[in-house]
Symmetry: none
Subunit: 268 residues, 2 copies
């Protein structure tokens, strides 16, 4: 790996969040820039949650800031700072990346879903035709539902404790993906061959599965967005059943290339 | 040297200026942090000159920003962002460093003058007794006049296109340094043995000397705060005359230790 060097001419990217110390992007992206000969770094920017409307627009005026990554709790709130949104961000109402265009305007897009799909593909999993049960219709769940529909899954049953949220997501996605069978559900349907947890269940010690999963056939692909040092309850359950799985780290690793490509593609 | 690494927990310093690509601090300070085991980086922040009042206070709200260095054209304008000033900043009315205190307030100080004097001393030059012609009574010029007077030069003639600015600086310094002969001048006096450019003349392609310099005797010490990849017109002129010189890089190198000490000394 080439050494990281910061000069006056180095271009800046920042990841904004509150808290910020836990994020992995500064290391991953800065190393990637160094190995590919891009004179840029990605730094953590701890924006206090109650100051985002004041601090972020000011940051965006720095002449050498090329782009922003966005983490909790700003993925929905930062929509307002983009003059243009990609299709996923527009549909799911959240973003996790912003880039500065040549004319100084900002374009936002959401890559959590694409990260999940690419993370699965990197592990050799095939997604087209899958029948999916998806737990969670929040920011991550919405982005994953969008990306799975785009990847050609046959059906997605969306389960969320807030039934209205799952129904609203189904409505939005139906317009974009008429070929995918979308439904709001109250429990995992029996005939699925993919189960994804995009809810926060599993983050807290003592959490169990996100819902009633039942027996898993060995050809079921299991996904979980939760990032823990140890396997989540759902990933453990999948491992015991002999199923393949995709976890939160796979999702993060899966979106690095997409984020790099998005940030590099500046429009006039 | 230890490798530079940027993680979510890395603390930030930034240098603000317009333009910014020419600054040396990001490389110098970031390497110093790495070799001394401090998990911090110093990044360039290009603040458009007409946005400083909006952008800088917002930057200062980043929870992981520990301090700022300040370059052209903000050394005077950024006084207003400090709740407390060191002695030099107070006297010369300019600053080039701000640090965040434990209580969240900001302290500013000016190190350009000290950097210039230390830079000259590091090259083995003696300053006491020198008769100085100084071009430029802005932030850098004021700080250099202060530091030269403190170092014991015999006289300083200050030349600035804004005559009132030179006169005001002379007034301020007379109080602090009654033993130094200070005067506002319209041209370089004949009997000087030190010529310093602290004006921006020389930064732009096609710039010449900061004023009428005349012939230089070989014992004249020449200084120039302007940092270019190639020698400035004044440093070239000095070299042709066989004079010793101190350039912007020397001034910069001369203040690194003082800046590091200032930034590290956080008060409760």
């Amino acid at each position: 790996m080439d050494a990281i060097r910061i000069t006056g001419a180095t271009r800046l990217y920042a990841i904004v969040g509150d808290p910020i110390a836990q994020v992995r992007s500064p290391e991953v992206f800065t190393e990637r820039f160094a190995t590919t000969g891009v004179d840029a770094v990605l730094v953590p920017a701890h924006v206090p949650a109650d100051r985002v409307d004041e601090v972020v627009p000011a940051l965006m005026q720095l002449g050498n800031l090329e782009g922003l990554l966005v983490t909790v709790p700003f993925k929905v709130r930062m929509l307002r700072f983009a003059q243009r949104l990609g299709n996923t961000a527009k549909c799911v109402g959240a973003l996790n990346a912003l880039r500065r265009e040549a004319d100084g305007s900002w374009t936002g897009e959401m890559f959590d879903g694409e990260g999940f799909v690419r993370g699965a593909e990197r592990k050799g999993e095939r997604l087209p035709g899958r029948r999916v049960a998806l737990f969670g219709a929040g920011g991550a769940g919405s982005a994953i539902a969008y990306a799975l529909a785009e990847a050609g899954v046959q059906s997605i049953a969306i389960i969320d404790p807030q039934a209205g949220r799952a129904a609203a997501l189904v409505e939005k996605l139906r317009v974009a993906f008429p070929g995918c069978a979308l439904m709001a559900a109250t429990a995992k349907p029996a005939d699925v061959d993919m189960v994804v947890n995009a809810s926060p269940v599993g983050m807290k010690a003592g959490d169990g599965l996100p819902g009633d999963i039942g027996a898993l056939s060995v050809d079921t692909l299991v996904g979980d967005v939760v990032i823990l040092a140890t396997p989540t309850p759902l990933i453990e359950y999948a491992t015991r059943a002999g199923c393949s799985w995709v976890n939160g780290r796979d999702m993060h690793a899966g979106q690095v290339d997409a984020l790099i490509a998005f940030l590099a593609q500046r429009n006039a």
